[in-house]
Symmetry: C2
Subunit: 206 residues, 2 copies
C-alpha cells in the first residue's frame, strides 16, 4: 500500500465518518461523501466495495472509540469512587469533542440490532462487568448491592453520561427555560454526575 493510497483511503474514511455521523446510514449519500473527500464517487467503490462495507468500517471504528473510553473502570489501582469520578470526567469530555456520536450509535444499533450486537460483542463490553465484580464484589456486598443490580448501576452510569448528548435538542429546550446554556451544563455535569452516583451508592436501599 503506497503512501498516497493510504492518504486517499484515509480521506475517504474521514469524510465518510463525518457524513455518516451527521446523517446516519439511511440519510447519508455516497455523492456527499465523495464531495467531502474531494474525489470522484467511483473511488469510494474502488476502496470500499459498497456503501454497506464503508458504513461497517466507520461504525466499527466509531464504536470502538466510544467504548475504549471505559478504560478507567478497569484500573485495579482505583477505588470505586475514583473510577466513577474519572469515568465521568473523561467520558463526558470525549463526548464534548464528538457530540454526534451518541445519537448516531443509538440509532444505528436500533436500525440493525443483529449486526450491531455482533460488533459490540467483539468489543467485549462484558469484561467491564466481570472486572467490576472481581475488583469490587466485596464492596458491593457491603453496600447491599446484589449481583443483578450491577448492570442496573452500569447502565445508569452510561445513561447519565450519554443521554444529555443524545437528547441534546430536548436538553437545550429545557435549559432555555432555566436561563442556562448547554456548554456550562455539560461542564457542570462532569462533577454532578459523579456526585449523584456516589451518593446513590453509599446508602442502603430504602
Amino acid at each position: 500500500m503506497t503512501e498516497i493510497e493510504k492518504l486517499t483511503e484515509e480521506r475517504i474514511f474521514d469524510a465518510a465518518t463525518e457524513v455518516f455521523l451527521e446523517r446516519g446510514m439511511d440519510g447519508a449519500r455516497m455523492q456527499e461523501i465523495a464531495d467531502q473527500a474531494g474525489i470522484n464517487k467511483s473511488l469510494l467503490h474502488y476502496y470500499f466495495r459498497s456503501k454497506d462495507r464503508l458504513f461497517d468500517a466507520v461504525f466499527e471504528k466509531v464504536a470502538a472509540g466510544m467504548f475504549s473510553r471505559f478504560s478507567p473502570l478497569l484500573d485495579p489501582e482505583l477505588s470505586l469512587e475514583e473510577k466513577i469520578s474519572f469515568f465521568f470526567r473523561e467520558h463526558i469530555s470525549f463526548l464534548e469533542k464528538n457530540p454526534r456520536l451518541p445519537s448516531f450509535l443509538l440509532n444505528e444499533i436500533n436500525r440493525n440490532p443483529k449486526r450491531m450486537k455482533e460488533i459490540i460483542r467483539r468489543l467485549d463490553i462484558g469484561k467491564i462487568y466481570d472486572i467490576l465484580e472481581q475488583q469490587h464484589g466485596e464492596e458491593f456486598k457491603q453496600l447491599g448491592i446484589t449481583p443483578s443490580l450491577v448492570p442496573q448501576i452500569m447502565i445508569s452510569v452510561g445513561a447519565m453520561s450519554v443521554f444529555p448528548f443524545a437528547a441534546r435538542g430536548i436538553v437545550e429546550t429545557l435549559l432555555e427555560k432555566a436561563g442556562l446554556n448547554f456548554k456550562d451544563f455539560i461542564e457542570e455535569r462532569k462533577t454532578f454526575a459523579a456526585g449523584f452516583v456516589i451518593r446513590a451508592f453509599h446508602n442502603k436501599p430504602t
Copy 2:
C-alpha cells in the same frame, strides 16, 4: 368527515406510525406504509399531501404521548419522593409498551433539531421545571440543590428511564454476560431507578 373516511385516515396514520417508528423518516418507504394500511400508495398523498407532512403528524402525536407521561411530576398532592416513584413506574411501563419510541424520538430530534425544537417547545416541557421549582423550591434549598442543579436532576431522571430502551442493543449484550434478560431488567428498573435517585437526593453533595 364521514365515518369511513375517518377510518381510512386512521388506518393510514397508524400504519405510518408503525413504519416510521421502525425505520425512521429516512428509512421509511411510502409503499411500505401503504401496504401496511392495505391501501394504494396514492391514498397516502390524498390524505396527507406529502411524506413530510405525514411524518410531522406522526412525530407530533408520538412526542406528545411521550411527554404527557410526565404528568405525575405536576401533581401538587404528591411529595418529591412519591413523584419520583410514580414517574418511574408509569413512564417505564409506558416505554415497555412502546419500546421503539425513545430511539425514534432521539434520532429524529437530532436529524432536524430546529423543526423538532419547535414541536417540543409547543409541548411546553419547560412548565415541568417551573412547577418543580414552585412546589419544591424550599425542599431543594434544604437539600443543598441550587437552581442550576434542577435541570441536571431532571435530565438524569429522564436518562434513567429512557436510556435502557434507546440503548437496548447494548443493554442486552451486557445482560447476556450477567445471565439476565431484558424484561426482568426493566421490571426491576422501575423500583431501582426510583431508589437510586431518591438516595442521590437525600444526601448533601460531597
